[in-house]
């Protein structure tokens, strides 16, 4: 029950979806299963929310390290849940859009979620700069190529790139940094991306087969019972 049933479910669902491509009456099954997947994913969000509450309530009750911040997490979670799930502070009836301007949900989204999310990602700019300072030393040929490509792309996307090589005549615009950046993106970069994508494609196909045939079982966890 604990191991064989999940393996059977994976095999049946995976095999049916692969065969559905070849059998016209089963064509819609792929869409149905995708919708099933989305619905289960929502339950997974609820599981995540429940687990978050459990973890932070435990931390709070046991007065573990940094427990006061758990109050912040729980309060933020409950406030957003009240605004989003129970539509508190949302003008209009139950059918009205959650993202309507002036609703509590949209206000929290604009004033808390967006600033926090974008600043978190913006913070990475500093760490990327710091990492590139360490990594971008032209120690060998490969590192130099990487450095030059990144440098051209960065320069090509800024006004500085246009200023530096703006004097190059139009008939040799290949040497203008913005054009060179475009060429790098469209030719060698595309070739490299394609080689990687072909590798990924083969990897995904073989991993999918391993999962469907029950060779790969790590997702079931370590319990063998």
């Amino acid at each position: 029950m604990k191991r064989n049933v999940p393996l059977a479910i994976t095999f049946i669902v995976g095999a049916v979806l692969i065969f559905s491509v070849f059998i016209p009456p089963m064509e819609n099954w792929g869409e149905d299963f995708t919708l099933f997947f989305d619905i289960i994913a929502v339950f997974a969000f609820f599981l995540g929310g429940g687990n978050l509450l459990r973890v932070h309530l435990t931390k709070l009750s046991r007065r573990k390290q940094d427990w006061p911040y758990s109050i912040v997490t729980i309060m933020g979670f409950l406030l957003m849940l009240a605004a989003g799930l129970f539509r508190i502070g949302n003008p209009g009836d139950i059918n009205a859009s959650l993202t309507e301007q002036g609703s509590l949900f949209q206000t929290i989204y604009d004033s808390v979620f967006v600033p926090l999310g974008s600043t978190m990602y913006a913070l990475l700019a500093f760490f990327v700069a710091s990492a590139s300072y360490r990594a971008f030393r032209a120690k060998n040929r490969e590192a130099t190529i990487l450095l030059v490509a990144a440098f051209i792309i960065l320069l090509g996307r800024t006004p500085l790139g246009t200023i530096v090589t703006g004097w190059v005549p139009e008939s040799f615009s290949i040497l203008q940094i913005p054009n060179l950046a475009i060429w790098i993106m469209n030719s060698p970069n595309l070739a490299g991306q394609r080689a990687i994508m072909i590798g990924i494609g083969l990897g995904v196909v073989s991993m999918s087969l391993r999962l469907i045939l029950g060779i790969e079982r790590t997702y079931l966890g370590g319990d063998d019972k």
Binding site: I39, I40, F45, V72, G76, T119, L124, D223
Partner: protein
Amino acid sequence: MKKTTLIIMAGVTVLFLLSWIIKALALEGMQEDYIKKAFLVTFSAFLTLSILSFLYRDNPFYKFAEHLFVGVSAAFWMSMGFWSTIVGNLIPRLSQNLSVFFKVHYIPGDFNFRFYIPVILGLLLLMRLSRNYGWISRWSLAFIVGTTAGLNFIRYLRSDFIKQISATFVPLLVDWQGTGHFFSNLDLSASGQLVMMLANWTIFLGVMSGIIYFFFSKEHTGMFGRASRFGIWVLMITFGASFGYTVMGRISLLVGRITFLFRDWLGFNI
């Protein structure tokens, strides 16, 4: 908590209140709910600066912002998932009464009972929270894994394998349209024959050598080794380009936050 930390926290609270008052005074007469608007802008600025304070080191303000983000984003995705997927796609297929309640258009169908399957599997997934019956959630997980494997098997085979190989086999000798056109145009527009040929050669050789680099069943020596080395160079250009793009994306986000701080919060005209 250290005395210094308490003093800094008190100072920041005072600054926050001061900023709120100044912003409210600046917005007075311009907007109807200026006190609320001023609070929201000040709070957003406080959160932005709290996250950026991590550049100094981990501190209580960063931890506050980080914990708030975790709580808010969990509830955000729960809410969006519930209203867009459960109410938007599931309820109209499951129940007429619930469709009326949620004011969504009911979609009748003979085999709509099949939509109970994901509901049951979803409920089984919640059993993960139970210590004794957590193993039942594996059934739902198995469905998710099976669906992903089945869909990705075909999808990746088509888009990442067959289509990419097909797109790589491009004409290496483009149609000859006369010497003048062939040599005169170096402006990188695709119409230039020389440029188009150069691009096609780069793509063909780049993909081939890149794949050779990833082929580990044969020792990388001789001609094969040289092709593999060229493959590394192509991949290095790709990584460099991706890196450059990532940096640009992050910098533009940072510019957005700095613009917010200076224009929306501090009121500079930039």
